[in-house]
Symmetry: C2
Subunit: 325 residues, 2 copies
């Protein structure tokens, strides 16, 4: 029998956590032959709720779920964890500026980074979902200096999936026809969904769809999709965010072959992005958390401008929390 | 390419629906090679919310999800549907008696039964999740006289899964060690979780665990688990109910081999249960919606008493809505 993977999830009683945990337990991420132990972290006021989530996970009698644990202490929840989903973060409240949000969340990721270094498994691999996810990831990474930087990643796969769906719908094809639809930069309104290098049925998306739409409504839709979902559902994206987290971690675990996917990862100086900035790049995953950043992708003036804007925002975000790293 | 299955889900914007749809789209029910088209039904006030759910399904870019439709008209949502999940129902409000709940829900299932007969695919197979699910299923079945009765089923798999988890936890083993844990009768507090015929690691559960616990706390826990979840989570079971619906329909679609599972199905006179009463029996599934009720399971005096109680309740429920069939 394969040894169970220890999978930690923070914000486990939140809406994304609730969607994510059942997908993980069903085998959607690590496959039908890989048992897992779920280790859930929540804040003290949510301990009763997370106990309820644990009861429901129990009640699903998942064959692959070999254990369920929960705690309000990251040093317990991350103990020997191989895979960590940093989902929990303080949400933006009314009237709050983005810089306030960054300051509010920073200390959480200081503590979690330290706990990852102290107690996680030696092969630990981390996805950061809680926003602002690039900067939260950067804070955690810098507080775990003994863990190789490349193990810390943040999620832009939801943006990629949204972009893939928009292109597929516009072209009237299935999403499986769309490839190389890469999100660059920050998971925020400045992100750059690079339709120029995307293909539909093997041909460039830009040759198949109207460029004015691609530069205009397409990019705007991806950047503002979160708000549209809140407007329609009366609640923020949860199951689609969880699904993207599953996609990100499944690809990192099983590998992508020649396929490129978007992951925010520490730069190694690629494309002029300063080293260790958590920037969304085109990546190919080699499995078990290994990946390479794909170099040599070209941008036109429009793309270079978008790229510079999102990088500037990330640099600015880092300066807001520079005391925490 | 395999032809997509048309899968209809009612109550699509509700909490169970929201958990269920993403599991279906991920391939958890019909497998990694079977594309599906989701056809969602909601009530008119929830049209905006279901549009938001459709947007999130889109945003997940599921490779197997070949279409997303929604409507407030069952004649649209059930059109050519091969598989139907009747999830939506009016919840019990404070001070409401069970008989009131049955009367409130009855008319919904009259209309849905008629629509199934009118527009669903000729191989349609139905699971009823919305409570009181046995009686709702019975109403729908009786309003679709041209559809073979055995295509209408109701869900007791959540109770079975809960029972399996309780036995496994008590014995200190994985849930995969527990077999033949059958729920008999009504999906309600009178249900009979028959631990007598269940096995743990191939030996009778009753020889391994304390009989006083099995007859007492074990049965009480299964019967009252829903209330415990509400108490802990502050919300009713959603993801575990969705997971059980996936299990029920996956087993019905792919078959169970020698394994027995609990499904509420129209009696063919088995065990003295009047014909066409929707009663939870031990079933073996032969695939593509085919199944047989397992006969010849024996009960002691304790079991016979429990069996009689749950059957009496179902007969009483039917009398409350006899004008609707």
């Amino acid at each position: 029998m394969t040894q169970p993977l220890r999978v930690a999830v923070t914000g486990a009683a939140g809406n994304i956590g609730y969607s994510l945990l059942f997908r993980l337990a069903a085998g959607d991420c690590y496959g039908p032959d890989q048992p897992i132990i779920l280790q859930m972290l929540e804040i003290p006021p949510a301990m009763k709720a997370v106990e309820g989530v644990a009861m429901e996970l129990d009640d699903a009698a998942f064959p692959l779920l070999h254990g369920i644990e929960f705690s309000d202490d990251p040093n317990v929840a991350f103990k020997d964890a191989n895979q960590i989903f940093l989902v929990g973060s303080k949400p933006r409240s009314k009237g709050m500026e983005r810089s306030d949000l960054i300051r509010e969340n920073g200390p959480i990721f200081v503590g979690q980074g330290k706990a990852i270094q102290a107690v996680a498994a030696s092969d630990v691999f981390v996805i950061t979902v809680g926003n602002p996810c690039n900067t939260n990831c950067w804070i955690a990474m810098n507080n775990a200096p003994d863990v190789p930087n490349e193990r810390f990643t943040a999620m832009t796969r939801l943006d990629e999936n949204r972009a893939v769906a928009q292109l597929a719908n516009k072209a009237g094809v299935q999403t499986t026809e769309v490839a190389d639809m890469i999100i660059w930069g920050n998971h925020s309104a400045t992100q750059f969904p690079d339709y120029k290098n995307a293909t539909i049925g093997g041909t460039p998306a830009a040759s198949r769809l109207d460029e004015a739409w691609l530069q205009g409504d397409f990019i705007k839709t991806i950047q503002q999709r979160g708000a549209q979902i809140i407007e329609a559902r009366g609640a923020s994206s949860a199951a689609s965010a969880a699904s993207a987290a599953v996609d990100h971690m499944r690809d990192a675990w099983h590998g992508t072959g020649d396929r490129m996917v978007s992951m925010a990862v520490p730069s190694r100086g690629n494309y002029g992005v300063p080293e260790n900035t958590i920037f969304s790049f085109a990546c190919r995953c080699t499995g078990r958390g290994g990946y390479e950043i794909v170099d040599g992708i070209e941008f036109d003036a429009f793309g270079r401008d978008k790229f510079a804007t999102t990088l500037a925002e990330l640099t600015e975000e880092a300066s807001v929390v520079s005391d925490l790293v």
